[in-house]
Every structure is written in structure tokens, then in C-alpha cells.
Subunit: 768 residues, 2 copies
């Protein structure tokens, strides 16, 4: 746990250079704009420890799988998030000395991630033979023109005179640290370097994605544009333009680098050079100040709609903004081919772009903070992968159109290969079904069911039906050999959460079937034909499972049991552990973790959270009191659920502790792994812990319901919610809650348990 | 399942060349002599599919581990059995055509593994432009001089005239197919090639084992020794001598290649060249015929002591001889540093040299067929690894001298990395304890306990004590998260066999403790000091576990349950499977295998077999009837146990079916994998199924007991047994059993339930 970044409401600030934290800081200070993103690597050369990373949305590589012992059913390839050619580089030489923070003497180092305006800035003083130069480097990836990135690199001499040179470059010789066989993922196609324009075009091996990057520069001395001699370099995988100038004491040289980054997802490969040049020239013509202006205007608008304001708690305020900022950087919802990878544009670990995180943690965020189409796109994305999910299930021995969605995917195919996860962590299928329910109940868009939803539900229900088996000794259906959300148990029987998800999916599918048969008989017939659905036989089987599925339960304690045999474990509590043993996944052998009762992430509680309508305060509290002390929260997806439940059952201190843990997970590096990248997908959970937890939002019969419970130390909390055409602003203080209907027509909602009408443009209050 | 080899009592014969079976045949026809061994690769060039393999006992390489997802506790290295420089090569050119069975026209192909005399021979006719040459190639690895290998390569012209050349070589450019990162495991040190003597010296990377191979040749035409011109080749990793002659119709050219193979395990590296040359020259001087004579004499002696004669069933006879032949080729018991790898010298798969197979399946074989020292050496081998086993347990979080022996090892360190095996298949620890019991009860060598055995038992017992935990809900100790011998279940709770092994080890250790305290108080004090043993506290804990350990049991069926929850599975029988789905490990996804009730190998039955004194006929039969139909025998270690139990409970047909399956596992390739090498360690199980099963041998109070039950179709069965200084010959026919005391003093035994005295040189009979 680091926690050394300065807590400002709108910025993340590091003061003093901490080389040992460099990779962690590279993650924290990452930038993105939905189409591309990058870690906060330095522009100038840096020979210290660093994880270089520059990523392009939707561009991936099927890296040959690496396994210890092959198991039947494993996929051959793992779609990796690709480290793309590096376009941020600017080598800086000062009187023949290469600027390199690993080797040079540097003082007054400060870096800032400004979330309000969306830029990254570094300032430091370079001391060269007793002479000082003040350097400040700012960059942003335009949110307005998302194929443009801009760097402003300023060097101001205090008392130095001599030669200063800048060598901006694009370098295609990049690797993925997590490449399985140290293969090169890119092949170079073309490099061209002119006096003030250089291109690099490269193609991914196997997948054939192409990127074309084009750069231009401007060099100014004390605000006067220079036109210096250029030394042009061009190799097969590298282009650069080197320029020099003489700098006197007191003078400031400013180097501006403009880059356009295009990919073949959006451009015809034949025209990429030309189009890249046009896009770049437009940007150069507009100039740095105007580009920054239009970029920061997008952020202003984002914040106007999505900001959460916490009064009286800077750490909490900074935390929630950091989460929202990163989510908005990663996914803008404009492109239905994209999804949200677990590390976004901040690292390469895990690979793939789509996990169950999207359905369980991000759909709620986008439902409330973005137009309906964004969530719908995310759902349609899965619909388009249905055939692959059916093939995936077939590989595991299922048939008749049973669908198992992959654990990790880029294009619908399974990427992951750990048998206990790939084959057994099947609750993911339930999250995909639940997202359909969640979307339709929130938006009221029931057409979605006939158009796409039902077909997905049938595939998933068929899977559940085949995945259970009848146990004679119990006289029940059982589900054997699964891994629940708590991945610190593998290959268990009757994981309560998974069984709950299965049973719920079957019931919901029956409900949707009836609704679609009623409302859209034509669509139903089409679906029946496409899927070979046999109503009587199949629904009969589903009903049988719903009625007779086994759920482990401890009578004495009155709690749902995570799985069969959970109570046989030695019951130790997370707080009993010696702090040096935590996180246990870095200190205990795997079998010890599996044997222990310690829980990586919410499992039974995930189910109680998901189906909150079914469980009253007593049941929720009993299960929370039982499981919370056993949970080590070594998954980023855990504390948010505990925070929300703690809010609901009136444990505000616990809720607040868990909230800090989720919202500051990366900033404070709770699990000692932020160097690998940020936990992007869990950031939706952070948002949920504020809105669902402290805001007390629920959905009841299509209405929003609010029962706020603000943490003790907060003076105020406010946020905005999109819901069925309305924009509501919720403002909470110590004594009351106010809800304003800012945009949209009249609506109804539940406020602290009472139904209230909220006319367009009006507001309602309730005392707390 | 192939089964296309001809069934002869003393030979394995293939008639007609089957290129598609080449790798399988290379395994089947392997040769070895305890110190080195090799697959039956061709001497002349072969460009078809082939797995080249030449192995040196005790020479290994720590290949960097390959895993998908790293788990804490995994070893960094996997000690691999090394493919060593190839010394068998002789390129043959006939009128400028390179002889290559993949490309040339060949008729009348026949190869034979002669087990009686221990050689491999191929004969075939090469048709070149209508002209015929008859080729016969025989080779053996001397059992007498185990650093010498000899090849006799004869080419007889029928109607061909022209040039014939031979190029014998040693080639250091070899690879392991299962190398994890395609690394070269060898580095070349020195090559020297003279007119008729060539050396190659190479060192393994990291481990620094050195081999020095030296070759010489003789060329004869119609029995006249020639002294032709030699073309010498010498590269950094290759040496050869090329000689040619003119061959006329009717003439026969015979090329003899002699090779000495030395390793630094047995020679000072500075003197290897000279010593290799001396050893080689002695062999050359002796000449081919005499070398073969002394070699086959060793085999004659081996067979005189170890042969099992089955009358009236050639397939069964060939099967058992093949097993004994391979065991005797692989391990001679002369070198205490060696152990018996699962593939012996016949393939590179699995790596490591030592598995629990040694204790469970091979100690019984060597106890009865070799001097006591051989088994004792195998036990001491584990004693010497005790500290490593304690370190291994420490890595997994155990302490106070608890020892967990590795799943796979070469030097005592764990090599294997699949969490469900490495960390959880801990019953191996029990097999090591049991071997101590088995050895001492068989030999009466109770000194072993004070000297070595007790210390190992304390380490293992401490492990078991720490590995169980108290379950409040059951009021019992439980053992969670294990994998039993049946590896088609992973991470289960309370595997009956493992719990049985644990409980038995604790009891046995208590017994040995008392015995050693009584008999060797000085030794006991030493052990106490070395291990920090606390008698009262530790034995108290052990007794508590013995008393309260949970054993899953099905009351209704009266069977021990393989693990908790086994009866929840869908109860399908192996015979219900569609034959195309078998073996299931090649056709089902891993999760499907895990969920099924199908059993890879004897598990509960392994326990009932091991502790047969504790279970009466009824219990044994009930469990056998329950588990046998659920067992797919996809481990080589399975059918032998089922065969023995079937014999005991009076199911002779089943016993015979299982016997054929174990004894002809590789010959008939039941599991479709013989191409990877032979199942060497299970061959001890085959021997057990004859001697313990059909011979009905048991050990009772230090005496041998026989209750033969010969299969229906057999006319006679006889075998010899070493026991406490006596050599007994057991001969069984339809009506009676005869036991002769061939060598040694007077003894007592149990014959068909009655105690009989058997004086030196006498015999006893019993009717059947």
C-alpha cells in the first residue's frame, strides 16, 4: 500500500521522483480517449525500470497459449492487448548529455494527472554541471479528435547556455512483456521520414490490424517559431527528426509534437497515409492552444454529467473522480465493436477485452451515466458472440445450442486457460443473462428481448440445464465442479452463487419467453426456428431444475453456504492474519489458500447484492456478518459489493472503509500490483458503491428508489442519474435529500420508501 | 489399440514396415542396460516421423518451468530426462543413393526385439533400380560392460554391383522434443576424429554433467577385414568416418560399430577421453561375437532368476516377459544414485526420475527378484532427500520439520507444477512411509528403522498432522483439498485413500517409535536431537488424529467413498461409454472428466489392496463391485491392482482381463500413447498381478503366504522369489502348487492357509 500521492480533489500529484514507484506511477497517470491510450511513460529516454505501453482499442494479437499441462478444451490462442508502436518519444540532448531521469540529477520533480481537463504534466529541474534547466512536459490524447495526441515539451534555461536538441520519433520496435514466446507481434510495413513529417505503418501478425502513425513538430524559442536544420532518420521500424538550437540563460525552448494515430478498424489501409496526414495537418493548423481548449471542453461536459461531488473528504473525492475519469478515458460507448478490458489502456496483463466485469460492474454505471445506446451496444456485443458461445460449450461436451460465454475474450472465442477458471467459473454466463434483465428493467426497452435478448437467454438456460445433474442421494439437482466468483476456491460443488444464477436465469427465461410469445409472436417463431427450441420439453426441464436445485445452507447459523463443505474448513478470520502474510495470494501457496476459509471476493454476498429484493434486512445482515470477516478482498471487484451491503444494513463505518478500498484501490495500491496497470473494470463498482450504497439507489418496478445513507464524515454528496429520458440530480446533506428533475419529462420515483411524483424541471425533498 | 506385433514367447516381432507406427515401435523395441538406453531409432538416416532418443542414467537438465498462470509454491525448474548425443548413427549410401526407409523402396521388413538374449535386429530388402540388397542390423547395449554399445550392420547384395559406403557418426546436435523453450540442453566441449577413432565430449548446461562418447569400426567383405580409405569429418558437434567399398552380386559387407559411452557420474572428466578409449579398445579387441556372448550370458542369468513361465497362453507369456525385460534393462540396482523414471530409457515425457511409482509398484518387484540391497538403496535414496522434502513442505506453509516428498524429482527437489497434483496429490508421502514398512516386514531388516526409517516417518507424520484440520460441524478431523491416486478428481475433500494413508502412517510411526526407543535408545536420542522431536506433544496429536479422522462411507451400499460427495455424481459406468469417446482423457474436456464419476485409476481399491489384511472378502468384493465398473484404467498403474483384487475375490475372468491390460498395455497400446515411450514403472505392477494376484502371494508375520488362483486358460505358471536368503520356486498347474526351496536355509511359509516348513533343498505341495 503506497498512498504517497497527494490528495487533491481534481488532480493526482506526485512530488519528488520515486524511481522505485515508476511503474506504479506509469499506471496511475495513464491517459486515454476511448480509441487509444497509454501508460505515463516519459517522453525522453528513461533507462530505469519502466513498463512501456501504448494501446489501440480493438487491436489485439492471438498469442499462442502457454500452459504447463495441456487439458482438452483449452483454447490455442490468448488474445493479448497489444503494445503498439511508441509515438510519444522525444529524445532530449543538452550539451551532448542525453536527458535520462535514471542517470541525470533532477530536483523539484512533480507530476500531475489533471482530471478536470484531462492532461498529464511533469515538471522538474535538470542540473547539468551546476547549471539549471526547468523542464515541463504536458500531453493529452484529444477527446475531441480521438486520433490526435499532442505533447508540449518546454525547456527553460535558468543559467545554462549551450546546445539543446530534440529528436521526436515513432518507434515500431516494441514488445509485450507478457508475450508467451517472446514473439514480435508487429511487422513493419512502411516508414517515411521527411523534413517535418514522418510516418510509421505497421501491421499485427496473424490478425492483420494496421496502424499508421504520423508526426509533425514545431519548435519555438521564447515564443518565436524556429525553422532549424533537421536531421532525418528512417529505419524499417523507426522514424525521427532531430532538431537543435542554441539556448541562452533565461530563454525557453518549447517543442510541440503532434501525432495522428489511425487504425484499419476505422480507415481503409490504402488511404491511411493520406488520411493520417490530413488529420494531422488540421490539428497542427489549429495549434496547441486550440486543441487543448476543445479537448478540455469535452472533459468539462463529461464532468457536468458524471461528476460525483463529495464534500468534506478529499481522499474520497479524489478517489471517485479518479475512477470516473479512468472509465470515461477507457470507453466512450461510441463504437459497438469495443468493450472494456480489465486494465483498459494502462497495462497489458490479463489480455482480452471482455470479462463478466462488463455485465456485473459496468453496465450499471453506463445505464445511469450514458445514453441507453451505450449499454445496449454492450449487450448486442454479446448477442453477436452467441454462436461462438455455443461452439465454446460444444467443445466442453454440451449440445443442442447450449451456450457458454467465454471467461475472457476479444472476438467471442475463449482466450483463457486455467481449467478451474475457463471450464468452471461458469457463473459468468449468469451475469450475461442478468445484464439483459437489468438493462430492460432500467430502460423499459422490452423490444430488446424479442430482437436479441431471448435468444441469448435460451442458449444460457440450455447450458444450465445440462450443467446440473440429478443426485439420487440428495433427491436434488446439484452443480458439481465449479468455481464461484471467489476464485480462492476451485472445483467446488454447489457454489451457492452459481446455483442461484442458474436457477434465476431459468426462471427469467421462462418469463421472457411468455412475454415475447405474447408481444411478438413473429419474432418468437423466428427464434424458435433458429434455435430449434422445443417449448414443452425444454421449459419442462427448466422448471424441474428450478424446483429441485440444491442450495447449501447452514441451519444453525442461518447463512447460505458458499459451497458444499464450507463449514469443514478451519474458520479463521482475515483480521487474525499476520499483516506480513497479506495479500495471501502473494505469500501463501495455492493449496493453502484453497484450503482456508478466506474469501478473495464477494461470493454469497454478490448474490445477495444482485438479488437484493429477495433478501430482507435480517438475512442480509446475517450473511454479511458471517462472510465479511472471512473476506480478504484480494479482487478489485470485492469491496464495492461489501460497501453497498454495509450501507444497506446500517454499518456506515464498514461501508466507508470498503468504499475507500474500492475507490482508492489503485491510488493506495492495496493489493500491491498497480505497477501492472489499473483495475479499470472495478471502477464501475466504485461508482455503484456511491450511488447504490451511499445514495441508496435501487430499481423497483422500473422506478428509481433512493434511501441515502451518507458516511458520517461527509458534509454532502451529489450526483446525476440518467433514467428513461430524464436527468436527475441527487443532492444529499446531513439532514435531507433533494432530487431535481433537470432534463426530461415528468417521472415517478420512490424516495425513502414513499412514491413521489417529480415533474419536469421540479425538485423533491425528504428528510433523513 | 494396435496389437499388430507378432506374439512370440521370447520376442516382439514386427513384420512389414509401418511408418505410421514408427514412433510407437521405437518405444516398444527400446534397449537399455541400466546405465544407458535408447529408443529403437534406425541407424541409417530416416526422414520420416521419428522421436530420436538416447538417454544416460542420472543425467538431467533443469528446464525452466512452463506454466500458464503462476501459483505460489511452484518450482522454477523441471528436471528433464535428457536426449543425449546420438551415437547409433551410420549413414549408408548405395551407388550414391542415401538409404532412407522413408524414401526408398523396401520389402520384407522385419524387426525383432529378442528378449532372451537382449538385442534388437532389423532385416529388410532394399530394391534399387530393380536390384536387391538384403540388410540386417543388430545392436545391443552390453549388460556386462555397461558403457559399451555395439552395432552389426550387414548388407548383402543379391544382384547388385556398385559402391557401398558407411558413415558412422556421433552427433551432438540433439534436442528434447519436450523442451519448454526450445533451448539446447548440451554444449559441446570437444570433438576429435581420427582414421578409426572419434570422440565427442559434451556437457549439459546448468547441471554440468559430461558425457564422452568414443567410436571405432570394422568393415568386412565376405568375412575378410578391409582397411579402406577413410574420409574424416569433424565439426564442433559431430564426428564421422566415411568408408566405401565395391560390392558385387552375392557378396556381403558387414560393418561393425563399437561405441563407449562414459559420463562424469562415473569418470573424472579429465580422464574421460583416455578411459573411454581404453574401454572401447578392450571391446574391439574382444570382438563382436565375444561381446555378444558375454552380454547374452547376463540375460541368461537374469532370466534364470526372474523369468515367469506361463504355459498355454503366448500373449500373456510375451506380455510378462516384456515387462520383466524392460524393468531389468532400466534399473539394475547397482547405483544408489539412480531411480526408475516413468519412461525409463524409452522416451522423454514426464521428466524426473522418481515418482511414488517406485515405492508403490517397484519396491515389491525388487524385494522379490533382487538382493535386499537393491530395495534398501531405493529407500535410502529417499532418506537422503529428507531435508529437501522438509524444505518443500516449508514452501507450502508447513513447519517444524514436516516433510512432503515431491511428486516428481531428480535430486529431491520438486519438479512438477500443476497445483492440483504438486500441492495436492500428497498421498505420495504415504507410499514412501509404507515402503519402509513393506521393506522391513519382507526382509526383517529392522535396523533400517533406527538408522534411516524413523526419521523419515517422523517428517511424514508431522506433515499429516498439520495437513488435517478439525471440523466443528463434523466433530472430526478432515483433510481438505487433495487429489487422490485417481487424478480424474482434483481438489477434493477427504479422499478415502489419502486419509487412510495418513492415519496408517501415524499409527505405524508410533509403533516404530516404540520399537526404536526400546531397541536402539542411542539412535533414538540422536533422532530426537536432529529432529527436535517432542514425544509427548507430537504423539498425542497423532493419536488424536488417528482416533478422529473422518472416512467417507456409504452406509446403504456399504462401500468406502472415494471422497466427500462422490455419490452426488451421475453414476455412469465405463461400459456405458461410446467406444469412440475412449480414452476419455483424449476426448472429453477436463471439467467433464472431473464431474463424471469415472475413475482414472484404482483409488479406494488401491487402499484395500495395500491394507488387504484389514478388509475381509465381503468388504473387498463390495468395493470392487462398486468401483471396477466406474474405472476407465487410463493410468498404467490401475489394472494391476484390479487384477490382484479380482484374483483374491474369485473373479478370474476379470483378473485375467486386467492382467492382459497391464502386461500388454504398451504392446497393445491400450491408451494410445506408446509413441511417447513405455510405461516402465507400471511394469512392476504387472509382475505383482502375476505373483500377488495369480500366485496369491501375501506377507504374513514375515512369512510368505501363497494361495494361487491361476487363470482358466493357463496350463501352468511358475516363478521364483527371493525371500530372506532363500530362493523359492513356485510352480502352479491345474491341480496343485509346488514350492521348492532352491537356495538358502530352512524356512516356513503359509501354503493355502496352512503353515508349512520348507527345509533347504526340499519342496512342498498342495492341492488346488
Amino acid at each position: 500500500m503506497n498512498g504517497h500521492y497527494i490528495k487533491e480533489p481534481w488532480s493526482i500529484i506526485e512530488e519528488g521522483f520515486h524511481p522505485g514507484m515508476q511503474e506504479a506511477s506509469e499506471s496511475i497517470f495513464s491517459l486515454g480517449n476511448g480509441l487509444m491510450g497509454q501508460r505515463a511513460n516519459f517522453e525522453e529516454r528513461y533507462t530505469g525500470e519502466s513498463l512501456q505501453g501504448n494501446y489501440l482499442a480493438g487491436v489485439y494479437y492471438p498469442d499462442k497459449t502457454r500452459v504447463g499441462w495441456w487439458k482438452n478444451g483449452y483454447p490455442e490462442y490468448f488474445a493479448k492487448v497489444l503494445n503498439a508502436p511508441n509515438w510519444i518519444g522525444i529524445d532530449v540532448e543538452i550539451d551532448g548529455v542525453q536527458l535520462d531521469l535514471h542517470k541525470c540529477e533532477v530536483v523539484d520533480f512533480r507530476r500531475e494527472l489533471n482530471m478536470q481537463q484531462g492532461y498529464l504534466e511533469r515538471r522538474f529541474t535538470f542540473v547539468n554541471k551546476g547549471k539549471k534547466l526547468h523542464i515541463s512536459a504536458r500531453r493529452f490524447l484529444s477527446m475531441k479528435r480521438n486520433e490526435i495526441g499532442v505533447i508540449r515539451y518546454a525547456v527553460k534555461s535558468e543559467d545554462f547556455s549551450g546546445t539543446l536538441s530534440f529528436t521526436p520519433y515513432i518507434d515500431g520496435n516494441v514488445v509485450n512483456r507478457d508475450s508467451n514466446y517472446d514473439e514480435q507481434f508487429w511487422e513493419m510495413m512502411d516508414t517515411r521520414s521527411g523534413k517535418n513529417l514522418a510516418h510509421l505503418k505497421a501491421r499485427t501478425r496473424k490478425t492483420g490490424f494496421i496502424t499508421c502513425m504520423t508526426m509533425a513538430y514545431q519548435l519555438c524559442l521564447d515564443e518565436k517559431i524556429l525553422g532549424p536544420e533537421v536531421e532525418v532518420s528512417e529505419r524499417s521500424d523507426y522514424v525521427s527528426n532531430r532538431v537543435s538550437l542554441e539556448l541562452e540563460a533565461g530563454q525557453e525552448a518549447v517543442f510541440l509534437k503532434y501525432v495522428s494515430v489511425l487504425t484499419s478498424l476505422n480507415h481503409d489501409q490504402e488511404k491511411m497515409h493520406e488520411e493520417g496526414e490530413v488529420i494531422l495537418q488540421e490539428a497542427v493548423k489549429l495549434g496547441y492552444a486550440a486543441l487543448f481548449q476543445e479537448h478540455s471542453a469535452v472533459w468539462e461536459n463529461n464532468w457536468a454529467h458524471s461528476d460525483i461531488i463529495i464534500e468534506g473528504d478529499t481522499a474520497a473525492q479524489q478517489g471517485i473522480r479518479f475512477n470516473i475519469f479512468q472509465l470515461k478515458q477507457t470507453y466512450t460507448g461510441r463504437d459497438e465493436r469495443l468493450n472494456i478490458g480489465p486494465k483498459g489502456f494502462t497495462g497489458e496483463k490479463y489480455g482480452g477485452s471482455t470479462y463478466w466485469d462488463t455485465e456485473a460492474y459496468l453496465i450499471p454505471f453506463y445505464l445511469s451515466t450514458a445514453p441507453e445506446e451505450v449499454s445496449r451496444n454492450l449487450l448486442v456485443y454479446r448477442y453477436k458472440h452467441l454462436q461462438k458461445a455455443i461452439e465454446n460449450a460444444k467443445k466442453l461436451g454440451f449440445n443442442q445450442g447450449a451456450a457458454l460465454y467465454p471467461m475472457v475474450t476479444m472476438n467471442g472465442e475463449e482466450c483463457h486457460n486455467e481449467w478451474e477458471i475457463t471450464f468452471e467459473e461458469i457463473h459468468r454466463n449468469g451475469a450475461i443473462a442478468y445484464a439483459i434483465y437489468n438493462y430492460t428493467r432500467y430502460t423499459g426497452d422490452s423490444d430488446y428481448l424479442a430482437e436479441y435478448g431471448l435468444e441469448v437467454l435460451i442458449g444460457i438456460s440450455r447450458f444450465w440445464r445440462q450443467r446440473v445433474n440429478w443426485s439420487d442421494v440428495r433427491g436434488k439437482y446439484v452443480m458439481l465442479g465449479v468455481t464461484g466468483p471467489n476464485e480462492y476456491e476451485n472445483n467446488v460443488n454447489n457454489n451457492w452463487y452459481t446455483n442461484k444464477m442458474a436457477s434465476w436465469t431459468l426462471s427469467y427465461t421462462l418469463e421472457v419467453l411468455e412475454a415475447v410469445m405474447e408481444s411478438s409472436p413473429g419474432a418468437y417463431d423466428e427464434i424458435k426456428k433458429r434455435t430449434g427450441f422445443n417449448f414443452k420439453e425444454e421449459t419442462g426441464g427448466w422448471k424441474d431444475v428450478i424446483e429441485h436445485l440444491h442450495f447449501p445452507y447452514d441451519e444453525k447459523k442461518g447463512v447460505f453456504l458458499q459451497q458444499d463443505g464450507y463449514m469443514d474448513k478451519k474458520q479463521i478470520m482475515a483480521d487474525d492474519l499476520d499483516p506480513v502474510e497479506r495479500p495471501i495470494n502473494q505469500n501463501w501457496s495455492w493449496d493453502r489458500i484453497l484450503r482456508s476459509c478466506l474469501i478473495k471476493q464477494a461470493d454469497v454476498l454478490q448474490g445477495i447484492y444482485t438479488f437484493e429484493e429477495e433478501y430482507d434486512h435480517e438475512v442480509t445482515k446475517r450473511n454479511f456478518d458471517f462472510y465479511e470477516p472471512r473476506t480478504v478482498h484480494e479482487s478489485s471487484l470485492s469491496p464495492c459489493v461489501h460497501s453497498i451491503l454495509a450501507s444497506r444494513i446500517g454499518m456506515p463505518e464498514k461501508a466507508y472503509e470498503m468504499y475507500l478500498r474500492t475507490s482508492r484501490l489503485d491510488l493506495d495500491d492495496y493489493n500491491n500490483e498497480v505497477n501492472e496497470g489499473l483495475h479499470i473494470t472495478s471502477m464501475g463498482g466504485t461508482w455503484m458503491s456511491v450511488v447504490y450504497g451511499f445514495g441508496g439507489m435501487k430499481i423497483r418496478e422500473g422506478m428509481l428508489s433512493f434511501e441515502p445513507r451518507m458516511p458520517e464524515g461527509w458534509k454532502g454528496l451529489s450526483f446525476k442519474i440518467y433514467h428513461r429520458g430524464c436527468t436527475l440530480k441527487v443532492s444529499i446533506d446531513k439532514s435531507k435529500v433533494k432530487i431535481e428533475n433537470l432534463v426530461g419529462g415528468d417521472t415517478e420515483l420512490l424516495l425513502c420508501g414513499s412514491k413521489v411524483e417529480l415533474k419536469a424541471g421540479r425538485m423533491v425533498f425528504a428528510d433523513l
